[in-house]
């Protein structure tokens, strides 16, 4: 096994960050110059948005369920079981909805993008596209970023709603709480900064998922083994980056709004 020297490791890491930044910058600036491949944006939106709907609904629902169950157990020690709805809605809207939805979409789509673009790269289809006078970043990367950002925003809203509903079902049918009271507390507790925080996150996470997936796809080398490696790296890096960026956004928003 060949060991990489610390110097080579640092150099390759800095190079990777530079390449990723350049790819992302070019993909974003493409939005402001024509042509834009709207047909590809719609196709990707269908694949990413509609295709991810079942896993997002299932994840959101059962997360809400388990959140209600665990919260109620802890709150009942303080005689505060009635505010379960508050904990469920705050947790879902601010944290779990955006993060879990993004992780699910990352597992499904960052890997899909890396393997699709990676296969195109190793079979010279990306070079063929360039040779035919088409910018592959404009044609392949920009539509994926746009559609992931837009669709993840709406998927997160759906996940938040379904999660709150899941929590309600557990609260009402298993814990015996009052339904209208649950929904009233869940609604009343949400303030403008909470909703804003929950909606800002998927915008960043969507960008991370698509840009990381496309980056690893576009830099794939070494045949089918390289495609497998790119797919794994895309999921690992995007998932870790989502968690890190989640912390940074939360800290910033709490710093600004105080909650």
């Amino acid at each position: 096994m060949k060991f990489t020297s610390p110097e080579d490791f640092v150099k390759s890491s800095v190079l990777a960050v530079q390449e990723y930044t350049l790819l992302s910058a070019r993909a974003v600036t493409n939005l402001f110059t024509g042509p834009t491949y709207w047909a590809d944006v719609y196709t990707q939106a269908d694949s990413i948005g509609i295709g991810s709907l079942p896993i997002v609904i299932l994840t959101g629902f059962f997360t809400g369920c388990v959140l209600a169950l665990q919260s109620a157990t802890a709150l009942s020690n303080f005689g505060a079981k009635n505010i379960t709805g508050q904990l469920v809605s705050l947790s879902m809207v601010k944290e779990l909805g955006p993060v879990l939805t993004s992780l699910m979409v990352s597992g499904r789509n960052a890997s899909g993008m890396a393997s699709e673009l990676g296969s195109m790269q190793v079979t010279e289809q990306i070079d063929a596209m360039r040779a035919l006078g088409t910018d592959p970043i404009r044609k392949l990367v920009t539509p994926r970023i746009v559609s992931t950002v837009v669709m993840l925003f709406f998927l997160t809203i759906i996940s938040d709603a379904i999660g709150t509903l899941g929590g309600a079902m557990v609260s009402i049918f298993m814990l015996g709480l009052d339904g209208p009271q649950y929904f009233n507390i869940a609604y009343q507790t949400l303030m403008y900064p909470d909703v804003l925080q929950g909606l800002v996150k998927p915008v960043f996470f969507g960008f991370i998922i698509a840009s990381i997936g496309c980056y690893f796809g576009m830099k794939t080398r070494g045949g089918t083994q390289g495609v497998g490696k790119a797919t794994t790296q895309a999921v690992v890096f995007s998932s870790v980056l989502i968690i890190v960026v989640d912390f940074l956004i939360s800290r910033t928003m709490i710093g600004i709004f105080g909650r």
């Binding site: 289809q125 070079d127 063929a128 035919l132 088409t134």
Partner: protein, 279 residues
């Protein structure tokens, strides 16, 4: 089969370029510690077919990608149609590439698109009217005798058919320069002959400047000693053991040029390595 030469029967466009179409000047490129091309200089004149020969791994495919600006050399300059592709930004290269057709080693067809959409790709990107696209795609597929495969996907085609679709995609926009990267690589001898016949047809009917990479000597000498007969729709030996004057050779070995000249000069070369390579 009169329809098979729809493109061939069009008036032959005369080369508009006055100077050399491709000029390499002291080009070198290395991948990590592997020096693939070392101080390469040569030029290709308008209407010329330049056959690039050499053993596997000597940098032939890299040379083709350099010509189309798909990769940049470490040193030296490459002029295509008078423009230095080594100094051009990627976005400035796209208009230049509209004048260049390229056939990749493994065809590089878009596997999620039908044969029609593969051939029509460039025209669809240009926003050409649909009727015009359909007409030109069919014309191009007739040229490679594959009009029945128009609705098929690349995975449904044989290796030889895929290579023919790649040629149709390269010639559909009637480029002024065509780059063939090992068009017969991995194909059986009969299919290889069909592909070489198509390359010859494009050379003799449209007089398009081309660079043909191959490691098969048989293909190279077939191109040099045969011509395309438009009436018979087949290639035939040039009478009196003639040699096509516009077909020239460039032989590479270990990243360096070991021969640059005509067919006659190649077969009469006294270079020991070259004689062994040709034998």
């Amino acid at each position: 089969m009169p329809e098979t030469t729809a493109i061939a029967e069009q008036p032959s466009p005369q080369p508009q370029q006055t100077g050399p179409v491709v000029v390499f000047e002291h080009v070198s490129i290395a991948f990590e510690d592997n020096h693939v091309l070392n101080d390469i200089s040569f030029s290709v004149e308008p209407g010329e077919t330049r056959i690039v020969l050499g053993p596997a791994g000597c940098g032939k495919s890299v040379l083709m990608k350099l010509t189309n600006g798909l990769i940049k050399p470490d040193t030296g300059s490459i002029h295509v149609f008078g423009e230095d592709v080594t100094k051009m930004r990627e976005r400035d290269l796209y208009p230049l590439r509209e004048r260049v057709g390229m056939v990749f080693q493994e065809s590089a067809l878009f596997d999620s698109m039908t044969v029609h959409d593969n051939v029509a790709f460039r025209m669809m990107e240009e926003g050409m009217p649909e009727q015009e696209i359909d007409r030109r795609v069919l014309e191009s597929l007739r040229f490679v005798e594959l009009e029945d495969a128009v609705d098929k996907f690349p995975s449904e085609l044989s290796g030889g058919m895929r290579r023919r679709v790649a040629i149709a995609r390269a010639v559909v926009s009637q480029p002024e320069l065509i780059l063939y990267d090992s068009p017969t690589g991995g194909l059986d001898p009969i299919t290889s002959t069909t592909i070489i016949e198509l390359v010859m047809k494009q050379r003799d009917v449209s007089h398009t400047t081309s660079l043909v990479v191959t490691h098969r000597l048989q293909d190279a000498f077939t191109l040099a000693t045969h011509e395309y007969d438009v009436q018979a729709h087949a290639m035939k030996p040039i009478p009196n053991k003639g040699i096509d004057a516009k077909t020239k050779f460039l032989v590479l070995n270990e990243g360096k040029i070991v021969f640059d000249g005509s067919t006659q000069e190649l077969v009469h070369s006294q270079d020991p390595w070259l004689r062994e390579f040709l034998s």
